[in-house]
């Protein structure tokens, strides 16, 4: 216990790590706030620069950027009605009307406090449940990992983007990208076309930078000249009465955020929307109607998306399955540093786990400090024209792609993925599942083959193994339920249920 606490406090007493976390949080707030710069983009570019650093340094910086970035999106959502990140879409619905009424400062203040509150709930859940889950996960077999990964890709496919087929296509494409290179078991080439370049595989960080950095930059070119709206900022520190009044809403939202964050593949974006929806339904008599500046509508999504950060680390550190796109990228960073996220991570490198917990908590404290200060400078920086920003992002992406293995070919990959990702985005595909696929693909492949070899290549035994082991059976049911809910059959069942409920209500 004492040992864990010691690990927890590593970054609290080391001035260098303290500085890195603070710098990361501050940078994250700005990155998250600037529309067009996403946290995933920032983290994937950062990873390529920090892989020569020690693990602690790299993780301190990344944790800061992650926490700051998830929050930062709310700033522009409130001040400019442009959500800086997808997780702040719900925030704009009530935050901007508040700003228009001249309560911008109050909205920013309340958002900051509730984000930090949500953040701590998520971290507490991480500290409490991850060790338990890791113990439990030691019982997991390769079958279960295969199913978990498939559930993750399916979840991100169902909940994001405009159609299920597009989500699954993106996930499968990612799996394929992750598969290129020599097969780790037999050293046979897969999709290498007998070229040496492809034998080493496609570095996933390059794929991430291409899909999230370059592709996003090309998409942003469509909205180069959005006018910025200036707001008057008054009081920033929220009233204590307000904090007390919205405590219940924040608590509920944090719970939703933590759970959604912990589900493999779903992160802050979905958590924020669900929490907003929940708050809308749970608040019977809001002071101001939702959509016109209700504080509940501001508190719920912000508490939820920051709670989702802690939640997303749970499956990542205990199962090696990322909770969202950013943790998928962070898993890439851990691999680069020679670590293997999974149930053994807590047994073999407990310091890393507690260090991460302590670090996320520290980042939240810095969030409170930076969130309540420097708002006037902030509005100036966010107004930086995209015409300058986008070429800079492209240069950063190029440097990032090159830095991983000093190979110019990687920069060509970056552009290729960037252009391809642009078309995918334009036609309504999400690139999140691609990245999840790249990380999970090789893991699914090896686990599938291990399970199949374990069943002596007999399909009947293979299937029977899934049905006869309780954990696998539960996961299989969850997977099938999720799959069926997306087919026309599931849709029909949902509509029938809704119809019956409406009828019941009408009768009552």
């Amino acid at each position: 216990m004492l040992e864990s606490f010691g690990y927890l406090a590593i970054s609290w007493f080391d001035p260098w790590l303290l500085m890195l976390t603070a710098a990361g949080t501050l940078a994250g707030i700005y990155v998250g706030a600037i529309p067009g710069l996403s946290v995933t983009m920032a983290v994937s570019i950062l990873i390529s620069f920090t892989f020569k650093w020690s693990v602690n340094d790299a993780l301190a910086l990344i944790a800061g950027v992650y926490v700051g970035g998830v929050y930062g999106g709310s700033r522009t959502a409130i001040l400019l009605n442009i959500p800086g990140a997808p997780s702040a879409i719900a925030t704009a619905l009530d935050g901007y009307p508040m700003a228009k009424r001249g309560e911008a400062g109050e909205a920013v203040g309340l958002t900051t406090v509730m984000s930090v509150f949500g953040g701590f709930v998520g971290i507490a859940a991480l500290a409490l449940f991850a060790p338990m889950l890791a113990d439990f996960a030691l019982m997991f077999t390769s079958r279960d990992y295969l199913l978990l990964a498939m559930i993750g890709i399916l979840l991100v496919g169902t909940l994001s983007g405009e159609s299920f087929a597009k989500g699954v296509f993106a996930g499968a494409l990612g799996v394929l990208i992750g598969m290129v290179g020599l097969d780790p078991m037999t050293a046979e080439g897969r999709f290498t076309f007998d070229t040496i370049t492809l034998m080493g595989g496609i570095p996933y960080v390059v794929a991430m930078i291409g899909f999230f950095g370059v592709a996003e930059a090309f998409v942003q070119l469509h909205q180069l000249d959005l006018p910025a709206v200036k707001q008057k900022i008054d009081r920033v520190i929220p009233r204590l009465a307000d904090v007390r009044r919205y405590f219940r809403v924040a608590m509920r939202a944090s719970g939703i955020g933590t759970v959604i964050g912990a589900l493999p593949g779903t992160g802050g974006d979905i958590a924020a929307l669900l929490a907003y929806d929940d708050a809308k339904r749970a608040t019977k008599n809001p002071e101001v109607p939702f959509g016109e500046g209700a504080k509940e509508g501001l508190v719920a999504p912000e508490a939820a998306n920051n709670a989702a950060v802690g939640g997303a680390f749970v499956p990542m550190l205990t199962l090696g399955i990322p909770g969202d796109a950013v943790t998928a990228v962070i898993i890439g960073a851990l691999f680069i540093h020679g670590l293997k996220p999974g149930p053994l991570l807590l047994v073999e490198t407990p310091h890393l786990f507690w260090f991460t917990v302590g670090n996320l908590a520290l980042a939240n404290i810095f969030l409170l400090i930076f969130g309540l200060t420097g708002i006037r400078i902030f509005t100036k920086i966010v107004e930086c024209p995209k015409a300058i920003l986008l070429p800079l992002i492209i240069i950063l992406s190029a440097v990032g792609s090159y830095a991983i293995q000093n190979n110019p070919v990687d920069i060509y990959w970056m552009l290729l993925f960037g252009v391809f990702g642009y078309f995918l985005k334009v036609y309504g595909f999400q690139v999140g599942p691609v990245i999840l696929g790249v990380i999970l693909g090789p893991m699914m492949d090896s686990n599938y083959r291990r399970a199949m070899i374990g069943a002596r290549n007999d399909p009947a035994t293979f299937i029977w193994d899934f049905l006869s082991h309780p954990i696998s059976c539960v996961l299989l049911i969850a997977f099938l339920a999720l799959l069926i809910s997306q087919t026309p059959l599931g849709r029909m069942a949902r509509e029938a249920w809704r119809g019956r409920r409406a009828q019941g209500r009408g009768a009552g």
């Binding site: 087929a165 897969r190 999709f191 469509h222 000093n406 083959r449």
Partner: protein, 160 residues
């Protein structure tokens, strides 16, 4: 959806291209080890590409069911690949091709100047100042803070 959605320009062609890509990748996956066993290196690639084929078929059928975008190639050029995007892709292409010859700093400087001038359309002096400042910031951050090795050019003998 009750009403038929409008197809985006080029969406049908993109769906066809995705299907073609998926089919080709599936055939490549088949070549790895065919159906010779259930735990061979080729099984999972075949599953993934097979899934891609099925999904792209669904995507294509859905695109076919939508109302056509109309406007043909002209709308595609205007909405999906406008001049701004096309020029930027070409510029990035030239930039990364020139980098091994010019070196990182020189190539990035030229790229920044040309692309900012193209997108921002202010006085060239202001653009030059902004690109220089951006370049200096990148250089300081990467060479000093992150200590990243940046490509040196062959043409200028590593001067930049």
């Amino acid at each position: 959806m009750s009403s038929r959605a409008q197809r985006r320009p080029g969406e049908l062609a993109f769906a066809v291209a995705l299907l073609a890509l998926s089919l080709w990748l599936f055939s490549e996956a088949y070549k790895i080890s065919g159906f010779s066993g259930l735990s061979t290196p080729g099984i999972f690639p075949m599953l993934a590409t097979g899934l891609m084929v099925v999904c792209s078929l669904v995507i294509l059928l859905k695109a076919l069911a939508m109302t056509p975008a109309g406007g043909g190639l002209r709308r595609f050029l205007a909405d999906i690949t406008p001049l701004r995007q096309t020029v930027m892709v070409v510029l990035v292409g030239l930039y990364i091709l020139a980098m091994p010859y010019l070196g990182f700093l020189a190539a990035s400087g030229v790229f920044l100047f040309v692309s900012i001038q193209f997108l921002w359309r202010r006085s060239p002096w202001l653009t030059a100042l902004v690109s220089l400042a951006g370049l200096a910031a990148i250089h300081v951050v990467f060479s000093l803070v992150f200590q990243v090795v940046l490509p040196k050019g062959t043409l200028l003998q590593g001067l930049f």
